[in-house]
């Protein structure tokens, strides 16, 4: 198996196309074999697909499985007593949720990977952190929702962590103002899920006609745009709205999923989502799953070197996207950069920030 600690020493956006292809192929090939040997259900799938290991020559040859299989089957490559943590995908009532089992090694690698990627955008030093969510999200410590896992994973970048919403998702203006007062003039990290920020932070501030000065803040948000698309809120609207109510200039979206926690795709200064060396996106035509060229939209496949405890290293998502380019983004980061266009038709509506239903 690959030595993941060595890979962690490589700068996350430093490899060009050929270098990255080699690193990913070697790692993904080993993972495919490993999961074939250690996960009975995964073996059955590959046998059904008639996978011939000798014929796998490139990253795009690595077999992929639909992400929804994690909702329908128990897919684990570790024994019951090695399970350290189980993570669940978001899912509103009535929808099936994915269950992802982690052992200690995979959980630790996820955290280390997240640190490498996000530090490239925030710098190595930690900042006072305002979490735009409710502390109740991380109450159950053995069973994390995607939202809880996201908050906890990003918590490592923050000091003096403060929640902007109370237990009932009401804006805690007093806590926010005390926090901002205390850290006046310092860079501040804000983190939250896109829809939560819009619904329970922006809209409330707007309603109260309250302006905050967080001009030295950097906001990282993720979890998807599905609900905001329904409200006809674009990326630009979102950024402009936050600038209006709290003078935020520095906003980074990220794309990620609980099935591949750790290797998130961060949005750069030019509004492009970037693949790091730890993972990649491949766009496939919706009709025959063949490779789509740069600039052509299709279904997103994600590959990642992280999943060792479960066979989630190569997954077909239910999202549609488009590769904008490779190794040549004006921000200077190497690797593919892309945009998410939304969910493919007929897929279940699902996204971390879309799961909170206020009663």
């Amino acid at each position: 198996m690959l030595n993941y600690d060595e890979i962690l020493n490589i700068a996350p956006y430093s490899l060009n196309k050929n270098e990255k292809e080699k690193l990913l192929f070697d790692g993904l090939f080993d993972l495919t074999k490993y999961h074939y040997e250690n996960c009975g259900n995964y073996r059955k799938i590959l046998n059904t697909l008639n996978i011939n290991f000798d014929a796998l020559k490139t990253v795009s040859d690595i077999p992929f499985i639909p992400v929804r299989l994690f909702k329908e089957f128990n897919l684990a490559s570790i024994k019951e007593d090695e399970i350290f943590k189980t993570m669940t995908s978001s899912g509103t009532s009535g929808q099936a949720v994915s269950k992802i089992v982690l052992d200690k090694a995979t959980a630790l690698n996820q955290q280390k990977t997240l640190v490498k990627i996000v530090s490239d955008f925030t710098g190595a030093s930690r900042m006072p952190m305002l979490i735009i969510d409710s502390p109740s999200v991380i109450k159950n410590r053995l069973m994390f929702s995607a939202r809880g896992a996201g908050i906890l994973g990003f918590s490592i970048f923050g000091a003096d962590r403060t929640y902007a919403l109370d237990e009932d998702m009401n804006l805690d203006l007093k806590a926010i103002e005390t926090f901002l007062d205390k850290h006046k003039g310092k860079p501040i990290l804000l983190f939250g899920f896109t829809f939560m920020i819009w619904q329970y932070f922006y809209k409330e501030l707007k309603k109260l006609n309250k302006k905050l000065d967080i001009s030295n803040g950097i906001l990282i948000h993720g979890g998807g745009w599905k609900k905001l698309i329904n409200e006809a809120v674009s990326k630009e609207d979102f950024k402009k709205a936050l600038k209006d109510v709290c003078a935020l200039n520095n906003v980074h979206d990220y794309y990620g999923m609980v099935e591949q926690t750790g290797c998130v795709y961060m949005e750069c200064e030019y509004g492009h989502l970037h693949a790091s060396i730890f993972s990649d996106v491949i766009i496939r035509n919706t009709k025959d799953f063949s490779l789509a060229p740069i600039g052509e939209k299709g279904i997103i496949q994600v590959v990642s070197l992280l999943p060792e405890s479960y066979p989630g290293h190569s997954l077909l998502t239910e999202d549609e996207g488009i590769i904008l380019g490779e190794d040549d983004c004006p921000c200077g980061r190497k690797g593919k950069y892309f945009n998410i266009l939304g969910r493919i038709k007929n897929a279940e509506i699902r996204g971390c920030s879309d799961t909170y239903e206020k009663h």
């Binding site: 955290q111 640190v115 190595a124 030093s125 930690r126 490592i156 000091a159 003096d160 962590r161």
Partner: protein, 81 residues
């Protein structure tokens, strides 16, 4: 309070354990020292010594002993005091 006492105290408060049980502890040995507890421990240490740890050090902080090493080498905490 000596620095060692302050250090031990951070573990005692984060994980609700007896001071005598702290020195042998390793990350994930006990339920309380999971990833949530870990961030609580870091907050306690930062407050006790008025420091701001780097993310890499937070990840490396894998045991009571390792933490002492990190704090003394990188944050000038003198455990002889």
């Amino acid at each position: 309070m000596s620095n060692l006492e302050k250090y031990t105290n951070a573990f005692v408060q984060a994980f609700e354990i007896e001071p005598k049980d702290a020195p042998a502890l390793k990350y994930q040995d006990i339920k309380a020292w999971d990833s949530v507890g870990h961030m609580g421990l870091v907050a306690n240490l930062e407050e006790a010594f008025d420091i701001m740890m780097e993310t890499e050090d937070i990840i490396d902080l894998s045991s009571f002993e390792k933490g002492k090493e990190i704090l003394s080498q990188k944050y000038d905490v003198d455990f002889a005091q």
